[in-house]
Symmetry: C2
Amino acid sequence: MKPTAPHAFLTLNPAAGEPYYRQIYGRLRTAVADGLLKPGDRIPSARALAAELGLARGTVESAYSLLAAEGYIESRGQAGTVVAAGLRARHGAGDEPEAAGAPVTVAPYDADAASAADPDAPSGPRPFQMGIPALDAFPRKIWARLAARAVRATRPADMLYPPPAGLATLRAEIARYLQLSRGLCCTPEQVIVTAGYRDSLNLVTRALLKTGDKVWVEDPGYPPTGALLREAGMQLVGVPVDDDGLQVAQGVKLAPRARAAVVTPAHQSPMSVALSLPRRLELLDWAARNKAWIVEDDYDGEYRYVSRPLPALKSLDRDDRVLYAGTFSKVLFPAIRLAYLVVPLSQAARFEETARHFSGGCPALTQAIVAAFMAEGHFARHIQRMRRLYGERRELAAAGLGSVLSDYLQIEPRPGGMHLLLRLRGRRSDRALAEKMRQDGMFSRALSECLLAPRAGQPAMLMLSFTNIDTRRKAQELARRILALLPPA
Amino acid sequence: MKPTAPHAFLTLNPAAGEPYYRQIYGRLRTAVADGLLKPGDRIPSARALAAELGLARGTVESAYSLLAAEGYIESRGQAGTVVAAGLRARHGAGDEPEAAGAPVTVAPYDADAASAADPDAPSGPRPFQMGIPALDAFPRKIWARLAARAVRATRPADMLYPPPAGLATLRAEIARYLQLSRGLCCTPEQVIVTAGYRDSLNLVTRALLKTGDKVWVEDPGYPPTGALLREAGMQLVGVPVDDDGLQVAQGVKLAPRARAAVVTPAHQSPMSVALSLPRRLELLDWAARNKAWIVEDDYDGEYRYVSRPLPALKSLDRDDRVLYAGTFSKVLFPAIRLAYLVVPLSQAARFEETARHFSGGCPALTQAIVAAFMAEGHFARHIQRMRRLYGERRELAAAGLGSVLSDYLQIEPRPGGMHLLLRLRGRRSDRALAEKMRQDGMFSRALSECLLAPRAGQPAMLMLSFTNIDTRRKAQELARRILALLPPA
C-alpha cells in the first residue's frame, strides 16, 4: 500500500458554477486518467478531505460515491479507500498490462427504444412496453401552453427550411443541459439535431463510414442498432458483454481494425450493466490508436436510482473519437421524433453538410417547443420528477411481480434504467415466454432475442418496463397473467 | 384522315362524384391508352360532342384543353381535332415505331426545393428564393388554432412512437386529395408519410435499389436528387431533356437496364417543360419491360396557370412501376418537414417495414395538424387561393423585371410553376450572374448549375421565384439591383 497520494490538484474553485462535490469528483477523475493517481494509491478519507477543504463531509461523500459507482475508487474497509485496481492512465506506461476490470457496482437498466414502435398500439402503451416513459406523468398542460405560444409566435422566417443541424436556440439548450447533467462540455456547434436515434445513426454512417466497414456492436445488444448498421452496408462484429460491459479486449481480438463501435455505456442494452471505467479507457485508447469512431448511445443515462447518473463516456473523450447520441424519446415522449448527436468540433461541419444533403432538418415547431421547455426549466424539473417516480414504480413493480412469481422468476438487482431484468428459474425458454406474453397483449423482450446469433450458456431473462406501472396491484394483476402463461415447471 | 372515331365509350355517369369534364377527359385518355383511339383518329368537335351528351360546350372544351395540354390530342384547324401523332397504345401493336413526340403545349415551371434550404436565411426568404411558397399568404391564424387544438387533444396513446408509415387519418386525407386533384387513385395503405422529399428518396433507394444500381436522372435536373442518389451508392445516368421532357429513347440508349428513373413530369426541374404523353407512355413501357422503378417527383404539380393541373404520371401507371413523391413544403411551408410517397400496393408493406427500420416515423403533432387542415377543407382552399395569387404574382414579376431588363433577359413563356425562367441575351454566363446575385443577397440559380457535367450549346438561363414578389414595384427594384450587376454587353 502506497502512502496517501498528494492532493494539491484538489484546489477547488468557489466561483465556479459547478457544485463542490462535482468539482472533487472531476478533479479526482482527471488525476486518475492523467496517471497522477495510480491503482492502489490511497485517497484521503471523506472526513479528512472535508476538514482539509473546509466542506461538509457529505459533500465529499457524494463525490466518492459517484467515483465508486463508476469504478474509479474502491473501499478496502479499515485499510481506507484506494484507486481501483484495474485502472490505467490513458496512453500511460501500461504498467498493468492485464486490464483486470475494477469490480464496479453493476449498473442500470435500459429501455429498448424501437421494439416499442408498435404501430398498432391501441389507447396507450402495452403493459411492460419498453422505451416508453410514464405518459400519465408528462406535464401536458405546460406542454400545450408552450406549443400554442410557439405556433402563434411563428414568423414567415420560421416557415422556411429549418437549419439542417437544428435551431440555434435548441442546440444551445441541449449543450447547456449536457454540461450540467451529463458532465459533457460541448459548444452548440457540436450539437446536431436529428429526427431520432435511427436518424442519428444513419447520419454517422453517412458522414464517417463506408460500405463494408467493420463495426463493433454489443452482443447481446439493441437489435435495431444491428439491423440499421447492417442495412447501411456495415459488417457487424458482435463483441460479448460481461458485468463490466463491452469486452473491449475481445473486440480487439475479433476486429482490431474496425472503423467504429456502437456502445451503451450508461446502461448496457439489454444487460443493464455500466461500462466500467477501465473498459471506458481501453475503448477510448483503442479508438484513438486506430482512428476509429465510438457511438455512445445514451438513451436513458439520466435514470439511475441508487446514485447520481454516471457522466457520459464522451466526457472522457480527449481525442475526439466519440459521437454522443441522446434522444428526447425517453425523457419527453416518443411521438416527438427528436434526438441529437454531439460530434467532435472538427466534424461539425461535415455532419451539418451531411444533414443538409440527407434530411433537410427537423420540423421547426417541434424544435421551438422543446427549446422553450428546456429554457424555462421544465425539462430539468421533469427529469428530476421522473427519476423519483421511476424509483417508486420500480419498487412497486418488483414487489408486485415478486409476490406472485418468485418461484419462477428472480429479479436481478440493477441500479437504474427504465425496466426490470428477470431471470427465469429452471430450464424455461425466455423467448417462448416472451412470445406468449406478446400474444397475450403484453410486451416482453427475451435476452435471447437480443443476441446476434444463438449462443449456449446465456441465462434466460426477460426485460419488462415498469415506467407505466403505477400501483402494486397492477403489477400483481399482470404477474397473475404471466403466471397463467407458465407451464408447470 | 380516318372518319370520326366511335365514342360509345363516352357514356358519362351523372351519379359519379367526378365532374363531367373530368369524366370526358378520363374516358378519352383511357381510349387512347387502350388503343381504341389511334393517332390521327378524328374526335368530334366540342360543339358536336356537347350536343350529343347534352352538356354545355364549355364543359367539353375544358376536357379537350386538358387533353391538348397533355399531348393526347391536337387541333388541325379546319380539319378538326385528332388524336396526336406520336401516341401509341401501351403494350400496343407498335404500328408507329418512331415515337415522334406530339407537339405538346410546353408546360410549367418549377421550383427548386432544396436549393432553398438556406440555414442562414435572415428574417424571411431571400428575393427570388426558389421552392418557398408565398409565406405572407399562409393562413397562420387558422393553422395556429388547429395546432393548439391538436396539442390539447393529445392523449397518452398519441405520445407513443407514431406509426412508421404515418397517422392513419393523414394517409386517408392524402389519398382523398390526390384522387380529387391529381387524378391519382390510391388507397391510404399506399401512402407512406415521410420527413421530406429527401427522406422519400432515401426510402426508395433503401426499399427497392442496391448499391451500384444505375438510375436515370434528368440532365439538366434538380441537383439534390443527383447528389442524394450518388451518395446512396447509385450510378447516375444523365438523360437529356428537350421540350417534351426526358428523352426516354436516349435513356434507353445510354442505360437500357437501369433499375430506376427519377423524373419531374409535371414541370421538369429546371426546364419547366411537361413530360409529353408519348414520352410518358414510352417511359412506363420501358419500366414495365425492365421491371424498373419510376420516381415521379411532383413537387409543384398543382401550380399551373394556363390550364388545369396535369394529372400525375402515376395515374397512368397500370404496371405498378411508379412511386409518386409529393411534398407539403411547397403547398404549406418548408419548415413543416412533411412529405409522402404513393407506392404500388404490392410494395406498401416493404416500404412500411423500411420506414420502421430507418426512420421510426414523423412527429405525430405535425401529422395531426396537417390531417385536420386537410379534413376541414383549408388545404384545398389554400391551394386554390395560391394558384390565383401565383398567377397574379407571376404577371407582376414578369412585367416588373421585363420593364427594366428586357435588353438583357428574355422571359420564357411557361404555363405554370413557382418561378420564372429567364434567358440571357448575348454571350453572358448564367453562372456568373447567378453568383453575383447570391453575393448581393438575392437568390438565383443558373441552368448551367443544374447540369450533371458542363455541356456546350446549352442556353444561358436563370431561375427566379416570383412567389414572394407581391408588387410590380418590388420586382422593378429587384430588377434594378440585377441591372447594376450586369457588365455592359
